[in-house]
C-alpha cells in the first residue's frame, strides 16, 4: 500500500482484479465470476535467484526479476479456474528504462553540466534549474502511473483476451499534478474528491478486450470517514506537539541542547556519558518517528478501506457488479506484515510482498451478476513496445 503515493491508491485494485471482470462463456446466457488466488510453490526460489542476480548486476537485472515475479503471481490468479497470464518481458522493461534515460535523464544531465560549466558552481541559475526540473518531474508522476498501468493491462491475458487502458495519459497526469498541489493546500480536505477524480478516469479508461469498465459515483460518502481520520490525525499531531513542548522545557532538554551546541561548535569534549546520551536521543527520535508512522497508518487505513470498498462498488462491467471487503485492520496487518518481510529479509522477500497484496485483492473481491463472454472481443488498442521506464526512473512503484 505504502509503495504508491496517496492518490494512486485511489486507482484501486490491481490489474488482476480488472481482468477478473468476466467469466467463461456459457451458451445462451451469462456466467457467474469467481476470482481466487491459488498459492503455488516456487516464489521463494524466484526471490532468492532474483536477489542474487540483482546483486551481481548492480540491480540492472531488476527488469527481468520483476517480469519473472509477475509471471508467477499473475498465473496464480485464477478466474473461474483459468489463470491470468503476464505476457510482458524483461526486454520491454529494459528498453523502457533505456528510452527514458536517453529521452529525459541524459539530456537533463547534459543541460545541467553545460549550465554548470557556463555559470560556474554555486550560481543561482543552477538552483533555478534544479527547482524547475523537480517541478517538471512532479508533473510526470501521473503520466508514469498511467502509462505503467496501461503497459501492465496490455500484458495481462485471460482466455486469450488482453486488458487495455484507452484514455489520455496527459489528462490523467494533469489531474494527478492538481491533486498533488491541491490536497496539501486544503489541509487534505480535497483529497477524497481528487482521489475520486483520478479513479474515475482510471476505471472508465480500463477495458477487458473491447468491453469497458464503468465508474459512476460521488465523493460525498467518503467524507464522513475522512473527517474522522482527519481529526484523529490532528489529535496525534497535537499530542506530539504538546509532548515536544513539555520536553523542550524540561531539564533533560537543556542538557541535550548544551551537548548539541557543543558538538556543532566543535568544542565538545567527547565522553562516554555524552555518547550514551546522544545514542539515547537518536533512539528516542527514531522510536517517536516509528510510532507516528504506525499511528498514522492505522488511522489512514480506516479511510483507505472505505475508499477501496466504495470505489469498487462504483465500478461495473457489462452484466457484473463488484464489491470489496477491505477493513482497516486487515490493511494494517497487510502493511505491517509487508514491512516486517522487507526489514527482516533485507528486501529479498519483496516478491512475497507483491503476492500478499494481489492475494489480498483476490480474497476480498466479490463479483455479482452474469457476464456474456461471447460479447468480449480482442482489444484493438495498440500495444506499447516498451514499458514502465518512467515509473522505474521516478521510483514510484515497487511492482
Amino acid at each position: 500500500m505504502n509503495d504508491i503515493p496517496q492518490p494512486a491508491t485511489a486507482a484501486g485494485p490491481s490489474p488482476s482484479a480488472t481482468a477478473g471482470t468476466s467469466g467463461p462463456v456459457a451458451a445462451g446466457g451469462g456466467e457467474a465470476v469467481r476470482v481466487e488466488y491459488v498459492t503455488r510453490p516456487g516464489l521463494a526460489g524466484i526471490a532468492v535467484t532474483n536477489f542474487l542476480l540483482n546483486l551481481v548486476t548492480l540491480w540492472f537485472y531488476r527488469f527481468w526479476a520483476k517480469t519473472r515475479v509477475r509471471r508467477h503471481i499473475w498465473s496464480s490468479v485464477h478466474i473461474n479456474g483459468e489463470p491470468l497470464e503476464y505476457t510482458g518481458t524483461g526486454k520491454e522493461l529494459f528498453f523502457g528504462f533505456l528510452v527514458i534515460m536517453g529521452v529525459i535523464f541524459l539530456p537533463l544531465a547534459l543541460i545541467a553540466t553545460v549550465l554548470a560549466i557556463q555559470t560556474g558552481p554555486e550560481h543561482p541559475a543552477m538552483t533555478l534549474f534544479q527547482i524547475a526540473v523537480s517541478i517538471g518531474l512532479l508533473t510526470l508522476y501521473g503520466f508514469a502511473i498511467y502509462r505503467a498501468r496501461r503497459y501492465r493491462l496490455s500484458r495481462t491475458l485471460w482466455r486469450g483476451i488482453r486488458g487495455a487502458l484507452t484514455g489520455s495519459a496527459l489528462a490523467y497526469s494533469g489531474k494527478y499534478f492538481a491533486s498533488l498541489l491541491l490536497s496539501p493546500m486544503t489541509a487534505g480536505w480535497l483529497r477524497p474528491a481528487m482521489n475520486l477524480l483520478l479513479a474515475e478516469q482510471m476505471y472508465n479508461d480500463m477495458r477487458f478486450g473491447n468491453q469497458p469498465l464503468t465508474f459512476r459515483g460521488r465523493a460525498g460518502p467518503l467524507y464522513a470517514q475522512y473527517a474522522i481520520c482527519w481529526f484523529l490525525m490532528a489529535g496525534v499531531i497535537v499530542a506530539i506537539a504538546v509532548g515536544g513542548v513539555a520536553l523542550a522545557t524540561s531539564d533533560m532538554f537543556t542538557q541535550y541542547a548544551d551537548l548539541f551546541g557543543a558538538l556543532f561548535k566543535g568544542t565538545g569534549t567527547s565522553s562516554e556519558a555524552q555518547g550514551l546520551l546522544l545514542f539515547v536521543a537518536v533512539l528516542g527520535l527514531a522510536a517517536l518517528f516509528l510510532m507516528y508512522q504506525i499511528f498514522s497508518s492505522i488511522i489512514w487505513a480506516l479511510y483507505t478501506a472505505r475508499e477501496m470498498n466504495l470505489f469498487t462498488q462504483y465500478t461495473t462491467f457489462p452484466g457484473l457488479r463488484f464489491d470489496f471487503s477491505a477493513t482497516a485492520w486487515s490493511l494494517v496487518a497487510l502493511w505491517l506484515g509487508n514491512l516486517a518481510l522487507i526489514i527482516f529479509t533485507l528486501g529479498i522477500a519483496q516478491p512475497f510482498v507483491e503476492q500478499r497484496v494481489i492475494r489480498y485483492f483476490c480474497d476480498r473481491l466479490s463479483v455479482d451478476g452474469l457476464v456474456d463472454l461471447s460479447a468480449v472481443k480482442q482489444s484493438q488498442a495498440q500495444l506499447d513496445e516498451r514499458g514502465e521506464g518512467l515509473i522505474d526512473a521516478l521510483d514510484l512503484d515497487a511492482f
Partner: protein
C-alpha cells in the same frame, strides 16, 4: 473435425473457448476445430505459458503472440511436447540467463564509460577547456578557499616571494604563467590553516600559516615548485573535467539534481584533492626544476616531514621504525583526510610519507642562497 477434441483453444479474437483436436508430428502442432481452418504452430516457435509438470495442464503459445492460447490436459501428448522440446522445457531458465547477460553487459558498458569519463578523459581534455570556463570555475574555487580571509601583501614580503618564484621558474624549460598570493586563511576555531593551493588558470594561493611554519626559504621554494608542478601539468584543469564528468554521471541517475554535488564547498575542495599519482608527478616536476635552478629539494622534504609529524604524533615514532611503518602512517593519514575536508596540507596532498622518502637532497645544497636574511624576515612578516 475428424479427431476427438483433446484440448481447449482460445483464438485471441474473442474470449470464447474452442474445443480442439491437437496433433503433433515433431515439427508442427496442428490445431483442428469444427468448421474452422486448421491452425498450425511450428514447434520451434512454441513457448510455455505455464504447467508442463506432472499434475498440471500444459498451456502453450506462439512466440510473440498476445492472443491465441492452447491448453492441453496432462497426458501423453503434453508429455511428448514438453519432453522432446528443450526450448519449451527450459524457457524460463533461458530468459533468466539472457536477462542476466544483458544486465551484466550494461554494467560493463557503464563501468567503461565511467572509467573513461573520470580517469582518462580529464587529463586528456584538460588543455582544451576554454579560458572563460577555467576562470569561472577558478573564481568559485577561490571563493571557497579564501572566503573572507585577509590578503597578506606587505610589499617587501611579496618581493621576497617573487624573488623565490623567479629563481624556481629559471629552472623550468617552458614555465607556465601563474600568480601567487598569500591569504590569512583560518580553519574553524580560528586555527591557522597550513596549506598551498594550485587553482585552475595558474592561480596559486598560499596560506599565511604555511609561511609561518616554513623555517627556510628552501622550504617555501619547495612547496612553490610542487604547486607549480600541478599548474604545469594542468592538474587543476583536469579536476574541472573530472568534476563535470562525475556530475554528469550523477545527474543521469538523479534527473539533473547531481549538479548540487559540486555546488557546495565540500565538493569544491574534493576537486583540489589530487590523486597520489598526480602528487608524485608534481614532486618529480618540482625536484627537476629545483635542481636546474640550483635549489636544494630537501626544503620540500623537511617541510613535509615537519608537518607530517605535527599532523600525526604517532608518525614520529613510526618513522624511526623504518620505511614500512612510514607507509602505514601515510595510509592512515589519507583515510583520515577523507573524513575532514580541509584541515591541513595532507587533506589535499595525499601520500605524503612515501613521497617524502623519494626526495633526494641536492649535492652542494642551494647555491647561491634564495634570500638574504633581511628578505627572509620580510617574507615571514608578509601578513603584517
Amino acid at each position: 473435425m475428424t479427431a476427438k477434441p483433446n484440448a481447449e483453444y482460445f483464438d485471441g479474437g474473442s474470449a470464447h473457448s474452442h474445443l480442439a483436436a491437437v496433433t503433433f508430428d515433431e515439427r508442427n502442432l496442428v490445431i483442428a476445430r469444427d468448421g474452422e481452418a486448421d491452425v498450425i504452430w511450428r514447434i520451434d516457435e512454441v513457448e510455455l505459458v505455464s504447467g508442463g509438470k506432472p499434475g498440471q495442464a500444459l498451456r502453450l503459445k506462439q512466440r510473440g503472440d498476445h492472443g491465441s492460447r492452447l491448453t492441453l490436459p496432462e497426458g501423453e501428448l503434453a508429455d511428448s511436447i514438453v519432453g522432446g522440446q528443450h526450448h519449451i522445457r527450459h524457457g524460463e531458465r533461458n530468459r533468466m540467463i539472457r536477462g542476466a547477460g544483458v544486465a551484466l553487459g550494461t554494467v560493463a558498458v557503464l563501468a567503461g564509460l565511467g572509467y573513461g569519463l573520470l580517469a582518462v578523459a580529464p587529463q586528456a581534455l584538460a588543455g582544451l577547456l576554454p579560458d572563460r570556463v577555467v576562470d569561472t570555475f577558478a573564481d568559485g574555487l577561490e571563493q571557497s578557499v579564501i572566503k573572507t580571509s585577509k590578503r597578506c601583501n606587505d610589499p617587501a614580503g611579496e618581493e621576497a616571494l617573487n624573488k623565490i618564484a623567479r629563481r624556481i621558474v629559471s629552472g623550468a624549460d617552458n614555465p607556465p604563467t601563474f600568480s601567487l598570493r598569500v591569504f590569512d586563511i583560518r580553519q574553524a576555531g580560528s586555527k591557522k590553516l597550513v596549506n598551498a593551493f594550485a587553482l585552475p588558470g595558474g592561480r596559486m594561493v598560499f596560506s599565511a600559516g604555511l609561511i609561518e611554519q616554513a623555517q627556510s626559504a628552501d622550504e617555501v621554494a619547495g612547496v612553490m615548485a610542487h604547486e607549480l608542478g600541478h599548474v604545469a601539468l594542468k592538474h587543476p584543469e583536469a579536476a574541472i573535467v573530472r568534476v563535470y564528468g562525475l556530475q554528469m554521471l550523477l545527474s543521469i541517475f538523479s534527473a539533473g539534481q547531481g549538479a548540487e554535488a559540486i555546488s557546495n564547498v565540500a565538493g569544491v575542495l574534493a576537486v583540489l584533492r589530487y590523486s597520489r599519482a598526480a602528487e608524485t608527478e608534481a614532486d618529480e616536476y618540482a625536484v627537476t626544476i629545483l635542481d636546474e635552478a640550483r635549489v636544494d629539494p630537501k626544503g620540500l622534504k623537511t617541510f613535509f616531514t615537519r608537518l607530517l609529524r605535527k599532523a600525526l604524533p604517532d608518525a614520529e615514532k613510526q618513522a624511526t621504525d623504518g620505511k614500512d611503518a612510514g607507509k602505514t602512517a601515510s595510509e592512515e593519514s589519507s583515510f583520515a583526510d577523507r573524513l575532514k575536508p580541509l584541515s591541513d596540507m595532507f587533506s589535499t596532498h595525499p601520500g605524503t610519507q612515501s613521497r617524502i622518502d623519494a626526495i633526494q637532497p641536492r649535492e652542494g645544497g642551494t647555491d647561491p642562497a634564495l634570500l638574504t636574511p633581511v628578505e627572509w624576515t620580510a617574507l615571514k612578516n608578509i601578513c603584517r
